[in-house]
Symmetry: C3
């Protein structure tokens, strides 16, 4: 895969060397993401941030990643009264808007819309989420987090044992992560969900065809004992026919510190694509886990900035220049990243 | 006209030397607009972007123009729950907000509102559109595009033959463009519209009084043969008494590649202030023109960034310093501007 | 008080030396706020601006202050469809968002919400207003304005005579200002309000206990003769049970030039936290005062930028580096600050 000038639309664009290249660049950029160093390598460049569906964290994460490389961000966060309402084609919108920036990140509720936009754009486009379809930077940051977390215990992604827990039917993040993990060797997937929210069969077939082990379960405690990673997900309420239907599945697999202590191996890493549902009837990850050093959910979201910096640096071909435009951070950053 | 510290509120502020000064500076800034060079001449300066009426492209175009000169942009895009609702006068709003930035661009739906704001502002104000009244940077970028497009064929604005097509009654862009063109010599205006949407008589009288030829027509094919420029416009639906009334006039003057080939001289330039209405019942400029090299509509919108950079540089008096703060672009920009 | 890395949540954090340290830094930063000098000391730093309640001037003032120190701003201005709607706890929101920036400014309609957010944030948080509770930067800019205005007449804050006029019951700005002034010596507070909108007794008790004189009045003309400062406030309509109830109190204490000339000492300074209600039934400060050189209301809002710059510089520990990253302004700024 050649990153320079490319769109990033789907995890299916990535083979294992491409993923490892992203991670290698992310490792290089980590001191900048963690405010130990400042780089101005993209000073003068502009990110067009088009969030046609509301988003706070993905939008801000991409924006910060671009700022941390020294670039500017011009944002659009709504579509009311826009030109599309006046009969403008997506082609025209993409041609016009792509004249204003050096790279675009776009979220849109319609599946495939970002790819359609990209096909008319004159600059590289990153998919920031197109409905239930793809959100490739999320999958990359999840895998990058797995790599970093297990590395701390002397392991790597090959031979990983990962429990995927919750709504595996509608969870876009889980689907994409499974596709990326399948590129590695000898993964054990422990799928824990109510039968109605099981991972769709074609994903399981694909994982098995690639030589991985897949175990299905509808019970939490008995299934998590051998996992290196617990990847807990939110019930994707908004994709269900009704909130009542969704609420039947909430709170089925609550994890808390006492379950963790009793059933998990030491150092089992807890992940979640966030937001976690902390309301009483869901309580996916209990607050008593907040002091558990293996709760990786905030390191996971922090890694999102690093991964997005890596994607920008690769696409805009500045990887080798980042350090040339660098200096140490000169302001207070003490409590920030532990 | 002295640009330094001036408000830009109306095309009527511009005489021919002033226009030519803007174009001269735009030519100088083009390498920066096209990402061949980066300048930081306005590093530390702040543009206050106040879009009290929603807009994506004008807002982003102004913001990018300021970023490309090295400045920062602070945006306000809504007026809900603002101080005006608490009884604040426009005078106070302008005094306060003009304390936060070095220059302001403002769009507001009420005619004359931007001029009223400017009269109380302590910093220069650019009109980004005040209702049906004025949008001076649009007229300047249109004229700049005409100049560049016909120059490629060895012509200039004097002696130009331009067909203005569509809704000439309500089109703010057309009105302003006619005023600017009238400052040049020996223009032939070919006005093609249904009689009900004809250019208002006082514009025509003014053009004739200035020594130009004006031809009126209600038929497309027979009228475009001698034009250097076809300037097509959208039916300004939102200014009609009802959508039904507007829809009577949609699709009357569709241009496509076969009409172009049969009726136009080679190299006739096609322009449009955008957005073009591409819905079936309008289809002002058919998609089969997209590969026609004389379709200038996206070069036109790109020129908008350059013209806005020129206005900022002139108003803030940094024209002679732009190159001092410059360096080459160091990131990928290959496909961007052909 | 140690500023470095601290949250700024309440005026009660400040003792007199802390206030004077803020003012000293503000004085140092004034040339940057007034566009005589540019500094890039925070180049590469990111302000997370979270305005969960709409605001134009406070939001833009904080954003400009950060830009004027060289930093970038990533804004969030709405809470529609955010993660909180998906059951996310405030703890999680704060942990995640605080990973994206170096410092956060937040406004939220719920009292205490900003402090709750701050307790989970990994970076310093500034309170930009939490409902009727606190807005500490407003109180600091008010006091800074008083100091500067009376200094021009050879006076200082000790021994000040200040008339507080209007809705003293609901006015958050007045409450906080009284708390800060009480840290000084020998203040005379002249409280002018209808009895129903009097300053709550515990404030008055506190002021008297601290050794200050407090005079209460319900009549304007007879009470303003000995004041150094007239601090006029808006009837806080939105905090009343009904608009009708609020409207009973509008327009009771209108100040205009002829009252000023007849009843005030020369050089009495007029302040207002803005917005002033200029509608006919309120007309708190008549427009005929706009040419009065002692009308300090726009210098007051300008000082807000300077004070916020000082807070950022102190919290992020760059006070001593500001001048190292500085140069003269190279663009037009003539009319800006008189």
């Amino acid at each position: 895969m050649n990153f320079v000038g490319s769109h990033i639309l789907s995890v299916s664009q990535f083979d294992r060397p491409a993923i490892e290249r992203v991670f290698e660049v992310a490792d290089q950029l980590e001191p900048y993401a963690k405010r130990q160093r400042v780089t101005r390598v993209l000073e003068g460049a502009i990110l067009g941030s088009m969030f046609f569906e509301p988003s706070t964290r993905t939008r801000v994460s991409f924006g910060c990643a671009f700022n941390l490389l020294g670039g500017e961000v011009r944002e659009t966060t709504e579509m009311k009264s826009t030109s599309i309402a006046k009969g403008e084609s997506f082609f025209d919108t993409a041609r016009v808007l792509s004249g204003y920036s050096d790279v675009i990140v776009m979220r849109h509720e319609i599946e495939g819309s970002v790819a359609e936009f990209a096909s008319a754009s004159r600059v590289p486009v990153l998919n920031g989420g197109d409905g239930a379809n793809e959100h490739p930077s999320q999958a990359l940051l999840d895998l990058y987090t797995i790599r970093k977390e297990v590395a701390a215990h002397g392991k790597n992604i090959d031979n990983l044992r990962i429990a995927l827990i919750g709504d595996l039917k509608y969870g876009r993040a889980v689907h994409s992560l499974c596709r990326l993990l399948s590129l590695y060797n000898n993964i054990e997937f422990i799928l824990i969900s109510p039968p109605e929210l099981a991972l769709p069969a074609h994903y399981i077939d694909g994982m098995r065809a690639a030589g991985h082990r897949v175990i299905e379960s509808s019970e939490l405690q008995s299934s998590i004992g051998k996992a290196d990673i617990l990847y807990v997900t939110r019930t994707q309420e908004e994709r269900f026919p009704s909130p009542e239907e969704a609420s039947k599945y909430k709170g089925l697999f609550r994890l808390n510190q006492s379950i963790y202590t009793e059933y998990c191996e030491p150092n089992t890493v807890i992940m979640h694509p966030l937001p976690r549902d902390s309301r009483g009837n869901a309580n996916e990850l209990d607050n008593d886990l907040n002091e558990n050093p293996n709760l990786a959910i905030f390191r996971q979201t922090d890694n999102g900035v690093t991964i997005r910096m890596a994607l920008f640096a690769l696409i805009l071909d500045v990887v080798n220049d980042v350090d040339k435009y660098a200096r140490d951070v000169n302001w207070y950053t003490d409590k920030r990243f532990k």
